[in-house]
């Protein structure tokens, strides 16, 4: 099963919209996309998980890797559209302590983390 990926832009933020399940089978697609975005100079990334109803440890790890990658070059990576189920997984693993869940309808200037 493949992920379906598409893009949009809000200010300096590049939004990666995902449809599918994020696991060891599909995760490499997202990792590759984040790397491509950063290589293309898009250092502010939002991963839209609204249409993702499953994420496993591989998917979480890819988000951690993306956060590290963007921050290391002065950028940032956030998420949006988390379902209650995904919010719970983020909470259980502590991902909610480092990855901001943003609201795309809000001012993107408020999305950047201060740390």
């Amino acid at each position: 099963m493949m992920l379906s990926l598409s893009h949009s832009q809000i200010g300096e933020w590049n939004i990666i919209h995902i449809v599918g399940e994020l696991d060891m089978a599909t995760g490499p697609q997202l990792r590759q996309e984040i790397v491509r975005q950063v290589t293309d100079g898009n250092t502010y990334i939002v991963v839209d998980l609204e249409n993702v109803d499953f994420i496993d440890s591989t998917g979480l790890g890819i988000l951690v890797g993306g956060l590290k990658r963007t921050k290391s070059i002065g950028g940032d990576l956030c998420c949006t559209g988390l379902s209650d189920n995904l919010k719970e997984v983020f909470k259980l693993t502590g991902l909610d302590t480092v990855l901001v869940n943003v609201d795309l309808s809000e001012d993107p200037n408020t999305w950047k983390q201060t740390t």
Binding site: M24, F54, S57, G61, V64, L67, N85, V89, T97
Partner: protein, 147 residues
Amino acid sequence: MNKGIILEIPSQVEYLSLVRAVVASAASLDQTLGDQRIDDLRLAVSEATTNAIRSHANLGSNERITIRFGLEGDRIEVEVQDRGSGFDPENLNPAGPLTEKGRLDYEGGFGIPLMKILADEIKIDSADEGTTVQLVVYVSPANEESD
């Protein structure tokens, strides 16, 4: 296991979604188990199966992975059995919190802690000839309410 399903899959990541679908469908046969607990079991089994596939990949093994699902009284038991090289479950170094300096350098470390949190019981038997992870979720209404 009185009401059991045995699933044998090729050791390929493409089969993970199938395992999740079967486990979720089978768990939903017990109508006292809420959606959240089914999601918990689905993720825990997926993690165990992912580890099994990874273990076979490390060996270059084409052996199949066995998933046994059973509804037994007030519990659902799922066993994931691989024929990998095994590991010492007592000797795992837990990754620190994500806020710890340098922790973001490491993408792994989520799988086994997640299984331990999501399942009501977990037992890992590992030896040179393979690993069996047994995950148990209670289906009693009392436990459901306490979540």
